[in-house]
Symmetry: C2
Subunit: 401 residues, 2 copies
């Protein structure tokens, strides 16, 4: 059986770089904010090793910006997030979980403070623009909420700084983590931030001009030839190993900020007018009913087939309509524990997965630090249960370098 | 060059029917409301002829429902749409364009009045739930806005009524167009409406139970064998010929309700508290600046390659970052006129396209009724420009039956 293709249409928007990633032989796309986001070039594992060794240019135009500008911009952003934004400086980015009045997640953007009265929210996959416009319109706030023509381009990997310095100049080396500068490029000016959806180091360049952005894309490849630059994309293996969560995969709008383990990004002790504050404060006082945890399973005989196999009917679990391809592995004795993300780590020779575990199983696995899972071949194995991000120090002896 | 695959993940939600459409050999999916929506089984043209002759079962679970319930439900829905909802009866569905305070489209759902204080909006591809929640929360309305576990299943085609009657009983023949009844199925009860995203007749069944829905799916195939029942999906050829618009393809949030040609679905002369009323009334008094129109082009030598070719880098137009695969055809002398949908009609032997035409070209083409377009091979041809839906009566002589 052939794997299904993605059916193209204008509704699934291209970026200024889509034709280039097609020429570079992209193998698969996902759809993110109704925009094409590449997921694989050579193979998940080859892309992974290359990202960890060299430098990649990523078309992450699907990270759409929601621009909130006006006298009430701070008020609206603070209403939307339980994290105190008053300390975010003018050259700073901040990870801002957004939550509704029940404390449930709406999105988890990186907020960029562009001016005293102007934010960009670089959003994960949901229409934050409609949420922000609705709140603003309903409450009569003085803000303009728009989606600017901006398509981020990420340069990631240990050689990213060298490559970006060749194009933008040595000044970019002074940009600290989650800080940005406005950098000239030809006749344009781009926001360049030290950030990105990997832990291999690098920058995100907020391209706001199609032609200049395409020139930049080509120049990054021309200038990076000796650095072994290649096209890439957020990589599931690297993301899981690095403990970066994906809204919609690991947690979604059914889960609270605290259940998703984002407690360190909220400011519940500060007196701030956030929509979710009351609910989250109350939730903090109660015993947790569910919690996002990690599973680590010893994988025998090298990579297990789950993360490599094509999408076939046989791998679809009929009993889990919300589930995905990768849900071939599930908790055996309990229902309702769908896996979030799952991948084989070739470096640590482990299957890694995230799972939202509910009571009463939660207390049990937190006590034992392990649980039994059933693999797709019916085999029952013991999985180590841990908090996120995964802690690999205990298993360094099994590491592949 | 291979066509890219769709990269599966939990974020791209499955429906209770996904494993079944995979077994039936679905060739391609699109992503709609972050859910998998099949687009092709045999081929676009074979699916088309079959839909027009027999009966198909469609997994349209991606038509998510936004439930609005509470004492202020009517108030919120009326705020969101410029169409007067006061006359929508308790067993009725209504096409409800949603618009913001500038009259710009937010979505174009079918609204289903379930009770005096309860609506479902069966939405196109955008997070109406966040818009509705934001407005309600911002203005303090007394409504609960939720996404229920409902996955519509459509039965479409000239033999659809016979098939649905075999499963649900003869009573369904009495359901009028855009009306619904609550029908028992095993131990469940489903909303069954005479509606659907084709003009070949049929029903949409709002499945609210996974197991019963899967039994229903299988029973429709078992009972319909002699009717030549097959899996299908909304079909681009049939949709274009029938003049059914697609939000995100033909028009989007940059366009007003009136520019999209939806003037007959708004009630600007009624005194209703709609958010977009003032803007749309003002727009009605001004000369139109842009308008969604149709293009018909004589296609020589049978199907032109545009709608059949796989997605290749060569077909991607670098200068139109918002464009799509099908944008190989464009207006020659003007920029900014991206095509919406485009398809070859084998019945009428014409290329059909929608295009949002702006002034000053708009006056010109409305005067001449035609314009020049450039095909992907560089050929310049004359296209007939018309209002939508396409009027095929003038070309019946060229019709293939």
């Amino acid at each position: 059986m052939n794997s299904p293709l993605i059916s193209m249409s204008r509704r699934l928007r291209k970026t200024p770089f889509t034709s280039r990633v097609m020429r570079y032989g992209v193998k698969a796309f996902t759809v993110y904010n109704r925009m094409l986001l590449p997921t694989e070039f050579d193979s998940l594992q080859e892309d992974y090793w290359h990202l960890c060794c060299d430098v990649q240019v990523w078309d992450v135009g699907a990270e759409r910006q929601v621009s909130i500008k006006g006298p009430d911009a701070d008020r609206l952003v603070q209403w939307m997030t339980p994290r105190n934004i008053s300390k975010v400086a003018l050259d700073q980015c901040a990870y801002l979980p957004l939550a509704d009045e029940h404390g449930k997640l709406v999105n988890d953007p990186v907020g960029i403070r562009l001016a005293e009265d102007h934010w960009w929210l670089s959003v994960a996959d949901s229409d934050v623009i409609l949420w922000a416009k609705g709140l603003a319109r309903g409450a009569g706030l003085r803000v303009a909420v728009t989606e600017p023509d901006v398509w981020p381009l990420a340069v990631q990997g240990p050689k990213a700084e060298d490559l970006v310095a060749r194009v933008f100049g040595e000044e970019i080396r002074q940009i600290r983590f989650f800080r940005y500068r406005r950098m000239a490029y030809r006749t344009s000016q781009f926001i360049v931030a030290r950030s990105g959806w990997s832990k291999q180091g690098g920058f995100e360049i907020y391209v706001n001009d199609v032609n200049a952005g395409q020139q930049l894309y080509d120049e990054l490849f021309a200038m990076g030839e000796d650095l072994n630059v290649r096209p890439g994309s957020p990589n599931l293996i690297e993301r899981m190993e690095s403990g970066l969560l994906s809204f919609g995969n690991d947690m979604d709008s059914r889960h609270s900020v605290l259940e998703a383990g984002l407690g360190s990004f909220v400011s519940l002790d500060d007196d701030i007018p956030s929509l979710s504050h009351a609910a989250l404060r109350a939730e903090r006082e109660r015993p947790a009913q569910r919690r996002l945890l990690g599973l680590m399973i010893d994988a025998e005989d090298g990579p297990m087939p789950v993360s490599e196999q094509p999408f076939t009917a046989q791998s679809v679990d009929e009993e889990h309509p919300y589930g995905s391809l990768q849900e071939a592995l599930f908790l055996s004795e309990q229902t309702g524990h769908s896996l979030g993300s799952q991948v084989y780590s070739p470096r640590f020779r482990k299957q890694l997965a995230t799972v939202m575990i509910e009571e009463p199983l939660l207390s049990e696995v937190e006590h034992h630090g392990q649980c039994e899972v059933v693999l797709e071949d019916g085999q029952r194995v013991t999985a180590r249960v841990c908090t996120l991000p995964f802690d690999f120090t205990w298993m360094e002896s099994s590491m592949v370098v």
